[in-house]
Symmetry: C2
Subunit: 203 residues, 2 copies
DNA sequence: CCCGTTTTGTTCTCCCGTTCACAAACTCCT
DNA sequence: AGGAGTTTGTGAACGGGAGAACAAAACGGG
């Protein structure tokens, strides 16, 4: 988030910023921001603030965005299409090296300049391109078996869009994005807003 | 999450489950699950467990999924396409009532059975269908102005896929989903895994 | 009818992230 | 050079979520 905020400031022509400004751009408390940055080192100057470009490089280096990360996407449905075309990945150091789908009918398609290949090619692709990050955009029922194959092939980080809890061995990281749960959370708050107009907030 | 886990259990034919089982399905600790459920009321039976169908209904009612929530999606690029076609929304009580885009070239398209309309129609659609939830899938630069228009039109919950911090008045809820930040987090852990093979975990 | 077993609901404790507050450090102006 | 004004970095206080642990309650068997 800080990296993104700094990029925004840099594009706006700002060369130096205070923790207050940067915190506002990132939407957090300024004390938290300073403490977070302090874990990386002392990159600010008291009385002045942070050098935008310098801090940007330091954060990028720390979180590994200076490298190029190959990524495979499995499941080229609607969501897989969108992810394959998402420009935000490429601009942040992620390179989609392959699109895989179990459905042979999709194997002749070309999406985002890559042809959709068979899921059977997973192992060879992972080995060849040294892929360590996989994205699962399949239906929920297929997600666990895809994850198992990914792990067996050597992938150690998985971004899961399927609405399922994945079980993976230690040493493998999984992050989950559930689109409809986000909407459900909003709906819950909506219901409270409209449903209890006369009741004060109890918690 | 619990609702989803319960649905899975119900489809598997389970009629009763203990907090331990349900917690395993949802991927959380059983004590946490019991505490969470206790906020809704006492829907379990000691010595027996929870009735799957009954608990499912109670949770659905509490979080407002029994209702039908109209939703508008603004920004019909790759992501907007995917969201419009995402079946998980419909099955969870969300109904996409309109797709809007500022680009007139997209206004003749038909996506997911709905024709893409002008962003100028926002106010009339929101008023007509009593829409309270909006989804922003536009580029980052447009997101804030779209949010402002949404709020002015009467929308009080926003799901934001654009990589920007939105500022909205009190009483409006915003949830943010940032796809590339999720990948960055994975990349960070990857870097630590491979970069510090001989160093023990320090924190 | 009573006791052992199972499982919930809840309390207590611990731990971690967030925020406040302030000393240290730097700049600028006189 | 010195003091006023800023702004960082960090120690201390606060708050809240998560897990362990236990009492209360329901069931079943003798």
């Amino acid at each position: 988030m800080y990296l993104r905020a700094l990029t925004g400031l840099a594009e706006g022509g700002t060369t130096t910023c205070s923790s207050e400004e940067l915190a506002a751009s990132a939407g957090v408390n300024s004390a938290k921001l300073r403490k977070d940055l302090s874990y990386l080192g002392s990159y600010g100057t008291r009385g002045v603030g942070y050098d935008v470009e310098y801090l940007r490089y330091q954060i990028a280096r720390e979180i590994g965005v200076t490298q190029d990360w190959p990524v495979v996407i499995v499941g080229i449905g609607n969501l897989g299409h969108a992810l394959a075309n998402y420009s935000g990945f490429r601009s942040r150091g992620f390179r989609v090296v392959a699109l895989l789908d179990a459905d042979p009918d999709r194997h002749d398609e070309v999406v985002a300049g890559l042809d959709v290949r068979s899921f059977e090619d997973l192992e060879s692709i992972v080995a060849e391109d040294a892929v360590s990050i996989g994205v699962i955009a399949t239906p929920a029922v297929a997600a666990q078996s895809v994850a198992d194959r990914m792990v067996a092939a050597g992938i150690t980080s998985i971004l899961n869009f399927a609405p399922t809890v994945l079980t993976v061995p230690d040493g493998v990281d999984v992050r989950k994005v559930d689109l409809s749960i986000e909407l459900q959370i909003l709906a819950y708050h909506e219901q409270r807003k409209s449903g209890l107009p006369t009741t004060e907030v109890t918690a």
